[in-house]
């Protein structure tokens, strides 16, 4: 028997239910545990060692410590949820395709899945909206990602292109490549369209997009927060 994963309460407030046979474990974003059966043992761990943990915290804005959740004393169940409201998706990794994941979108993975920091080049670091470091996920197993809003999947055929606003990315397969470009041909119209810079993807592969933009949402909310008079 192997671990079972199920997304419960699908919609904008889902959670991930993980059933673990005795001895099995998964690792999750620090603080993601919502509830669990007593058989589960939670440990903080710095995956990738101190430097890996530091780079994760400093460069990718993720938690310093991952949780390792182990069904220690018998089979167990754990509920996991991310901080932002939005969808959770499960990706089955077969070891052939690896994923690049934007900061903060990682929720959980099997122990056989590896997460590494990957540095982007200067242009992408500055303008992609993903920062200089993104996560590269390799290996075989189950990967759970979270988004802000719903997740929209786009499959690209070989050499097919697709343009995504730079704050709406969740993950993409490593067989796709992307370039940063202005949304319109001129800078003025790029500015006035409200879509300053965009990522132009090229297939083959798959791109996962979130239907809401966290920083735009922040701006929208702040307009409604009463200021102290």
């Amino acid at each position: 028997m192997s671990a079972k994963f199920e997304i419960i309460h699908p919609g904008d407030s889902p959670a991930l239910k993980v059933d673990l046979p005795q001895g099995e474990s998964v690792y999750a974003e620090g603080g993601a545990m919502v509830a669990m059966t007593p058989a589960i043992k939670v440990e903080g761990s710095m995956r990738g060692g101190l430097l890996g943990a530091l780079s994760r915290k400093i460069f990718r804005g993720e938690t310093f410590f991952y949780q390792t959740l182990t069904a220690a004393t018998g089979e167990g169940q754990v509920l996991l949820a991310p901080a932002p409201p939005g969808e959770i998706i499960l990706l089955e990794m077969d070891g052939n395709v690896s994923y690049l994941v934007q900061k903060g979108s990682f929720l959980m993975a099997s122990r056989t899945v590896t997460l590494q920091s990957k540095m982007q080049n200067l242009t992408k670091g500055l303008f992609s909206g993903e920062g200089f470091f993104i996560s590269e996920v390799t290996g075989q197993g189950t990967l759970a990602l979270n988004s802000f809003g719903a997740v929209h999947r786009v499959d690209l055929a070989a050499n097919e292109e697709y343009v995504v606003d730079n704050s709406h990315l969740v993950a993409w397969t490593s067989t796709t490549s992307y370039k940063i470009q202005k949304s319109s041909s001129g800078w003025i119209s790029s500015l006035t369209s409200g879509e300053m810079l965009v990522c132009r993807f090229k297939g083959p592969g798959t791109v996962y997009i979130q239907t809401r933009n966290p920083s735009a949402f922040g701006g929208w909310v702040s307009a409604y927060i009463p200021t102290k008079g």
Binding site: N96, R153, D155, A158, T173
Partner: protein, 376 residues
């Protein structure tokens, strides 16, 4: 078909419209072309002459293969296997040869870049830490040397002198020994009265022209230096200089500093071979003083000489002789840790005038006889 035993290459298969994303596929090379097990329960055959190649992925680390001459919608394959690219390069349209051969090389280059970046990052981190330490090390060693109790310094000196004398012959009697002790006694009369150090001079049988001081007041004088010196005053000059390294606590500062370096090196390289190298570097650093310290030792040494009724200039002349001999006088002063001899002699002459030394009193030694006693 016997394709079950044919070797295959791992690939990712994409449907013509990309739907479903990439799937694990197996590609077999057949005499006619590629036989693709799409992993979806069906097989696709692509003839060699129709294959088109390109690159895909973030770092162009995937080889993209399509076959547009096949009627109807065509899927695509991505592979990372360099052998696949190499084998195909000789079998397909020659116009793809560069791309296919380049693919294997580029992929290798990718691995090399990764390693190069890792090594660079390690060097930069070590340099940053090392540089940071270097920036504060003088301050730290000064502070530590001030805080170090005299008793500890003496204990270190006692330990170090034992290790320095291992395998060496220490001369404890005879004209050379007597002459050396007499020089030391005279120098002590010129040293500041409240010094907490009882200087001990060890005369060591060694052809090397050298003398050095250790923490706590131990000094080592090699017979090679006595043979090289034209007069006992020249030996006195060198010893006065070395005594000043002790009284000004340069010795202990250097020791603390080199211990600090060892600490950094062992932190970075562990206790492996490189750690050993660092250890060796540390020992080398123990005996080299900074330029400021050398100049200070010259000044203090000159004061001791003047107070003891010895010619101040003797301190300069011997160092001059040595630097002329080994050619270090050609090194510009600002590049060397030791003041260049020309500067040194001039500085000594100036000091001699400033210090208004007591009328020099002879050491009363038959130097020719002392040197003769050192002949083997």
């Amino acid at each position: 078909m016997t394709d079950a035993i044919l070797p295959y290459f791992k690939a990712v298969w994409f449907t013509p419209d990309g739907s479903g994303g990439g799937r694990a596929a197996k590609v077999t090379l057949t005499p006619e072309g590629l036989s693709i097990d799409t992993g979806e329960g069906y097989r696709v055959e692509w003839p060699l002459r129709g294959l088109k190649f390109g690159k895909a992925g973030e770092e162009e680390s995937y080889l993209l293969v399509t076959c547009p001459i096949v009627p109807g919608p065509v899927g695509a394959l991505t592979l990372t296997d360099q052998d696949f690219a190499r084998i195909l390069s000789s079998r397909v349209d020659p116009s793809y040869q560069t791309l296919l051969m380049g693919f294997s090389a580029a992929n290798l280059g990718h691995v090399r870049r990764k390693w190069r970046n890792l090594v660079l990052a390690a060097i930069l981190t070590a340099a940053a830490f090392g540089g940071g330490y270097w920036a504060v090390s003088h301050w730290v060693s000064d502070w530590a040397a001030r805080k170090l109790p005299l008793e500890t310094e003496k204990k270190w000196g006692d330990l170090l002198i034992r290790s320095q004398l291992v395998g060496k012959t220490e001369i404890t009697e005879g004209p050379a020994y007597e002459a050396a002790q007499m020089i030391l006694r005279r120098l002590k009369t010129g040293a500041p009265k409240d010094l907490p150090y009882a200087f001990t001079l060890h005369v060591v049988k060694d052809p090397m022209v050298n003398a050095f001081a250790l923490p706590g007041g131990h000094m080592v004088l090699m017979t090679g230096l006595m043979k090289e010196a034209a007069s006992p005053e020249e030996v006195a000059g060198v010893l006065a200089h070395e005594m000043s390294h002790v009284t000004k606590r340069h010795v202990v500062k250097r020791l603390v500093q080199s211990l600090g370096w060892r600490l950094w090196f062992s932190l970075f390289f562990g206790s492996g071979d490189l750690g050993e190298v660092a250890f060796g570097m540390g020992s080398l650093m123990e005996i080299s003083y900074g330029r400021g310290q050398e100049e200070e030792a010259d000044r203090e040494g000159a004061k001791i000489m003047a107070q003891a009724g010895l010619p101040v200039t003797a301190l300069g002349t011997f160092f001059d002789k040595l630097s002329k001999k080994d050619g270090t006088d050609k090194v510009p002063a600002f590049l060397s840790t030791h003041p260049a001899s020309k500067n040194r002699s001039e500085a000594m002459k100036k000091l001699a005038e400033e210090l208004k030394p007591h009328a020099p009193r002879s050491l009363g030694l038959d130097w020719a006889q002392v040197r003769a006693a050192l002949k083997p």
